[in-house]
């Protein structure tokens, strides 16, 4: 147990001292902020204008939509960035040093996963605090204690899910070049797959289906719901239930799959099952690779 702690501490220290890895992890977060500032916010406000009048509350609601997407992406890219250490260790054969020490294979692997989780959680919570400040400064209200706990809970789930999926991906990556390519692909794709760069309603049906079957996008749905429920009620109090549902479906606040609205608990189950499957498969692959 102590060895696990020291391995995690080593991984964490290396990540913190690697500015490039740190910057790469946060690259897509910067892209989201930039896209939002340039056109995403305005596009959505224009869309709302067609249903109800635009007020400060609608701007707050749109900001909340962006914040939810940003937090779901942060969990993915920061956990992936932390796994960069695992790839570097493999490529430079540093892993050999651990494999010839009295450490179990599971402990070595677990140290990367837990480190990735810690880093992902730290940055996601930091981003949450930053986003809350942004929302308040932009005229919004502080989330209630229950709301905050709900968001933190979803962040924890989101970071755990991202860690398990990223672990699976990096098991097939053996060089830093390949890892950089993977980071770029994931960093770019995740914005689309979570319906952040373009709202889910703005893409063709088959892409919508891909997004809805993509487990990480469910964390974005949960976060949007947690952040936006109150604002939606305020902004769309004059609108019909159909108009509200249409907006929610278009912007990925609710998913409709096979003509059925997906419930919160359904999304949570998808996240948990995916997490278990990816972790189990990853452990099996790692054991096979390090027989």
């Amino acid at each position: 147990m102590n060895s696990l702690f020291y391995l995690i501490s080593r991984n964490n220290k290396i990540y913190r001292r690697d500015r490039t890895l740190l910057l790469l992890s946060l690259l897509s977060v910067f892209i989201v902020i930039l896209l939002y500032a340039v056109f995403l916010q305005q596009t959505q406000i224009d869309a709302i204008k067609q249903i109800v009048g635009v007020t400060n509350e609608s701007k707050v609601m749109v900001n909340e939509w962006m914040v939810a997407g940003l937090l779901s992406i942060t969990a993915v890219t920061t956990t992936l960035g932390a796994f960069g250490i695992m790839v570097k260790d493999k490529e430079s054969k540093k892993t050999h040093d651990f494999l010839t020490a009295p450490l179990s294979r599971a402990t070595i692997q677990l140290s990367y996963v837990i480190n990735s989780f810690i880093i992902g959680l730290f940055f996601s919570l930091l981003a949450f605090v930053g986003c809350e400040l942004f929302l308040i400064l932009a005229g919004g209200k502080v989330l209630s204690i229950m709301g905050m706990l709900k968001v933190i809970g979803i962040i924890v789930l989101s970071v755990a899910l991202s860690s398990s999926i990223n672990l699976f991906l990096v098991l097939f990556i053996h060089t830093q070049n390949a890892f950089s390519t993977l980071s770029t692909v994931v960093g770019t794709a995740i914005g689309f797959l979570c319906g952040v760069y373009v709202p889910i309603g703005g893409v063709p049906n088959f892409v919508q289906n891909i997004i809805m079957y993509f487990p990480i996008s469910h964390t974005a749905v949960l976060l949007r719901e947690a952040f936006m429920t109150d604002s939606i009620q305020k902004v769309f109090k004059q609108a019909s239930p159909d108009q509200i549902l249409e907006y929610e479906k278009h912007y990925g606040i609710v998913y409709e799959l096979n003509n059925r609205l997906i419930s919160t608990s359904y999304s949570i189950w998808i996240i948990i099952i995916t997490m278990i499957v990816f972790t189990t498969v990853s452990i099996m692959i790692f054991k096979r690779q390090n027989k």
């Binding site: 102590n2 391995l7 220290k13 001292r17 054969k93 040093d97 494999l99 009295p102 450490l103």
Partner: protein
């Protein structure tokens, strides 16, 4: 030597990668406290054997015991890992951590208390003179400084056996000497068993025992002196005065020689034989040189499958 003193026992070890058999049933043993040199050309099966001994790779068949622990099962391998230290060919410490952070962190992977790790650090720091580089980032060190740190990391838990996989390759002669002296001191003062692979035959020459592996088979083993006796020879180089009919002289005495660039080369059974020849020819010689047989000769002759028959 009693059986208790054997710390590495390898019996009929085999290892294949697909259809390619890298190690073909080798057996050898290493005694406690000895400097054991494991030699071979690239691709001979040396690294595969070391990887197996260090528990990095699995064997196909054969029995291995390291410091009394059976190699191969999880429990045995874990016990072995407590007892061994490995200096790899590549740098395995973290560039962004200081030497002190690196060594301390690695020391924490063994079941040692904080006090023990600190004591051990003092011990390795003294052996490898780490004071001047203690707080430097590993990534900013020179090749020699890195190697010192690598060795310090490998012995931070005071292992029974230290595996050194070409530890001095790429180092300048001065650093090589420093590293080598530190290793020898460690062996002599702590009775640590050193398992060495090297391409420098002068390093193998000071080993207590040498094994040479070729194409997965052990082709020679013994002390450096035994191997020199069998695979190397002292030779006498002679240059005669123009007036002397040297070829005739050798023919009459049935002495074999080689002749190149005015130099006659004679193989000697013992160094002292040179004295007899020189005494008989003292008035006819313009110059001479006695060349001692070296481990380089041993290695080359073993690899080229030449057993030396002295005159």
């Amino acid at each position: 030597m009693s059986k208790e003193q054997i710390v590495i026992k390898v019996d009929n070890l085999r290892k294949s990668y697909g259809a390619f058999e890298a190690v073909k049933g080798i057996s050898f043993s290493v005694k406690k406290g000895e400097l054991f040199a494991f030699l071979g050309t690239n691709g001979a099966g040396k690294s595969t054997t070391i990887d197996i001994l260090c528990t990095l790779a699995k064997k196909n068949t054969g029995d291995i015991y390291i410091d009394g622990y059976k190699h191969g099962d999880i429990k045995g391998n874990n016990n072995i890992r407590e007892k061994i230290g490995v200096v790899f060919q590549e740098s395995v410490l973290d560039e962004r951590l200081t030497v002190y952070e690196n060594i301390l962190n690695r020391g924490q992977y063994y079941n040692l208390s904080k006090e023990q790790i600190q004591d051990n650090y003092q011990f390795v720091s003294e052996y490898l003179k780490l004071d001047d580089i203690k707080d430097k980032k590993y990534g900013a060190l020179s090749g020699g400084q890195r190697r010192r740190s690598d060795i310090a990391r490998a012995i931070i838990h005071k292992p029974t056996i230290l595996f050194l996989d070409e530890p001095t390759t790429g180092l300048d002669p001065q650093t090589r000497l420093f590293v080598w002296e530190a290793i020898k001191r460690l062996q002599e003062e702590t009775n640590m068993t050193i398992f060495l692979t090297t391409h420098y035959m002068e390093e193998a020459a000071v080993a207590d025992n040498v094994v040479v592996i070729k194409e997965g088979h052990i082709v020679a083993e013994g002390t450096p002196d035994q191997l020199k006796d069998k695979y190397a020879f002292d030779s006498l180089h002679l240059v005669f005065k123009n007036t002397f009919s040297s070829k005739q002289w050798f023919k009459e005495r049935k002495i074999s020689y080689t002749f190149k660039n005015s130099i006659y080369t004679l193989r000697l059974a013992t160094t002292i034989d040179a004295y007899d020849i020189l005494k008989k020819l003292e008035n006819q010689i313009e110059s001479f040189e006695v060349i001692k047989g070296s481990m380089d000769d041993v290695f080359i002759n073993i690899i080229e499958e030449k057993e030396v028959i002295v005159l």
